[in-house]
Symmetry: C2
Subunit: 457 residues, 2 copies
């Protein structure tokens, strides 16, 4: 604790050589808010409660409705103002049975999980021969005749990265692979999970069919199962599989965003949106994706409020649907896009330690960025030259030009758990969660109290 | 490599102060065998082949029959003599569906796996209220009236240990819990997995019903699910579950041991049995339990043979049924118990580094123990004062008085994988596997060539 305090001072003194820090919230505020946030109980309590009392909560399902009710009650109990659910409707894909077995040459079961919007097999399943592509590029390059009538299998590896950038690259196998396979006449597609672990727990995730493409059954094998299938294929005999991947699509199901506010003293100064998503994938309890994000946003807003009413309203947005296509973000923008938004920030990458801060602020706001960087440095967070991009739940705001800050979490172990049954409370590290709350609290405090005019209407 | 050689010399010199090492195999033999075994390819090849080309192989099933055929062909190809399967029959318990959900107060699915010999629910499942016992002792102490008609839930934790001793203690919840619960009138029992990981992968395992006790559905929750259920119970409302645990029992199914030999030059000197088991649990591919054990035993026997014909026959015993009650061991003893057995040794605790050697040799064999210890020391293996006990596949031999040596593997991560779907090839570490082969090869070489008369007829 002592170490943190002296670090703060050093960082702030350094910052003050270059920028008029005193124009923003006083340095003492940041240190006090940070120290209080490092003892935060709210983020853990929120995460524990949501994952225990609701559990899995796929968007547009009765479980998400329970999550919504749970969150409204919780946020009211925590003292937020203007707490409400804002309903909308959306299409829902529902998982059925996920089963696969090698019929020949070496009969055995494989563990897999259908991808969002997967086509459904009949109840009795389908049979087919596997055609193997080590990478997505190999599938793309393959003549349709080599794929037609077969089960395409793409199995490229993915390495853990601190900034999560490997997900963008390798995730293409999930996002585009199914449409490519279908367009070449495949009867189904299997991919190696977009994940960095070695457990028999597949990573699901959404994919959208390209225009005009017929949905086919699409699923991710766990990493050990994908490696097993590669070995079996390597024996050189034709490999025949049986797949049962039943699922269904429902139209116009109820979903909704949950909103809660810390009202600011200056309504004309614009709203600071602190976002996360309340929905989760169906097989885990969505602890790191994204109960912690919602816990962090709520806890940080409360830490700011405890230090005194901020100038700007802090609006916590818990989007009801992120995993399956951003319906929550679109509904929020439709309802609130014309309001003045000073800044948007989102937590949706687990709750391991924040290690970097990225900014996208308007011209003339370097002083604010510098003061935030200085307040974050004692938490071990370095400022970057990269432009902040926000997350899916604030994407329409960011696209419309709302300023954004990213508090980047360490993603090294995120893709061991992401979208698997293993995304459960025991994976959350309390000390790291609290560091997140502290980083968020000092950032929200400085932004919400900044004297600059900022944001767009 | 250099380090290993000089270590060897030092250890052997130390040993020679106390015992007539030269009466046994020459020191050069151990060093040469060890160095060759540290480059072994057979153990990996065996493990990779069995887990890929057969996969899961529950005892008494068609998969075990395929494993038997596979092993016979493999051992013949490797150059063993007298390779054959020795058939017997046994009862077989077959898993059906394993499903559980919390009906109230917080509806959500739980991940679990039926225990061996579990009773079956009807296809539509059963419903009941949970009665929670933090430890097995709490269940034992409970009045029957508090358990009757309910689903008993025992959730005591287990810590990883290098020697695996925590399994003996905490495994009682699996071995005795179901019979105790049934005798008090429970309609089912759930236990926290006997495991040290935090993945949504339950640990199954066998349990035997005590005499006169009615089988009830019995299953292990994954560790995160058990912790979730404890949290839900902690909210103080009655917790109602729906369980679907279907399974069936078959009588007199074919199983069989696989035997392969390195014939010795002196038939009167007795046989050295090197054992493992070929069967596995049904949800993983049985890589560490116990494909590696069979790979190590076979590879080590071949390393000895490469160095010259041993005095004693080395008989590799791959038992066809260990997991479900030792039918393979009993069948072997029935067929071969009257033959002269010089020593028995077994590998059935994964393939992480051997760290300790235990002996149970007849009076007057201290010199042999000392020379083996000296040959193992360069591999980082220390001799203990504990008496060797052998494993399940050689238990009848050990009970009959056959000498035994235990090469104890490091069990620190064994119970992260044991009896789960996660027991797959990717968990095997090649360098550690080779250290096992080296430890086994030097031990088998010294025992098979020892000039002492040993063993019982
Ligand atoms: Zn997310
Ligand atoms: Zn075993």
């Amino acid at each position: 604790m002592q170490k943190i305090r002296s670090g703060t001072l050093a960082a702030l003194l350094l910052g003050s050589l270059f920028t008029p820090v005193l124009a923003h919230a006083a340095p003492a505020d940041s240190a006090a808010i940070r120290d209080a946030a490092l003892k935060d109980e709210v983020a853990w309590d929120f995460t524990e409660g949501l994952t225990t009392e609701v559990g899995p909560r796929p968007a547009g399902t009765p479980q998400e409705a329970r999550a919504r009710e749970w969150a409204v009650a919780k946020l009211k109990a925590l003292g937020f103002s203007n707490v409400r659910a804002e309903p909308y409707t959306m299409p829902v894909w529902l998982r059925g049975r996920d089963e696969a077995k090698i019929l020949s040459p070496f009969p055995q079961n494989l563990v897999l999980s259908a991808l969002g919007n997967s086509g459904s097999t009949p109840d009795k399943g389908i049979e087919g021969e596997v055609v193997y592509f080590p990478t997505l590029a190999d599938l793309e390059a393959a003549p349709a005749a080599s794929v037609k009538g077969k089960i395409a299998f793409v199995s490229h590896d993915m390495t853990a990265t601190q900034d999560g950038s490997s997900y963008g690259y390798f995730g293409a196998a999930r996002r585009q692979g199914p449409s490519i396979a279908s367009s070449k006449g495949a009867i189904a597609i299997l991919i190696r999970s977009i994940g960095t672990d070695h457990h028999r727990l597949p990573h699901t995730g959404v994919q959208m069919w390209a225009d005009g493409v017929t949905p086919i059954p699409a699923a991710a094998l766990s990493v050990p199962d994908a490696e097993q299938l590669v070995r079996v294929i390597g024996r050189g005999q034709p490999v025949k599989l049986h797949l049962t991947l039943t699922s269904k699509m429902l139209k116009d199901q109820p979903s909704g965003n949950v909103i809660a506010e810390i009202p600011g003293s200056d309504p004309a100064a614009g709203v600071v949106v602190a976002a996360c998503h309340l929905d989760s994938w169906d097989q885990g309890t969505g602890a790191i994706d994204d109960a912690t994000g919602c816990g962090i946003a709520a806890a940080a807003a409360l830490q700011v409020a405890k230090a005194g009413q901020p100038r700007r309203t802090i609006r916590v947005l818990m989007a009801g649907a992120e995993e399956v296509g951003g319906d929550g973000a679109r509904a929020y923008f439709k309802a609130h896009g014309t309001e003045k938004h000073a800044l948007a920030i989102e937590s949706d990458f687990g709750a391991d330690r924040v290690w970097r801060v990225d900014f996208k602020l308007p011209q003339g706001h370097d002083a604010l960025a510098t003061s935030i960087s200085a307040a974050l440095a004692p938490l071990g967070i370095g400022a970057s030259k990269q432009e902040a991009g926000g997350g899916a739940d604030i994407a329409p705001l960011v696209k419309a030009g709302v300023p954004v800050i990213d508090l980047q979490q360490d993603g090294t172990r995120y893709f061991e758990l992401h979208h698997t049954p293993d995304d459960t409370l025991d994976k959350v590290d309390l000390a790291q969660l609290r560091q997140n709350v502290a980083a968020w609290a000092v950032t929200l405090n400085l932004v919400a109290n900044a004297q600059e005019s900022m944001g767009i209407k």
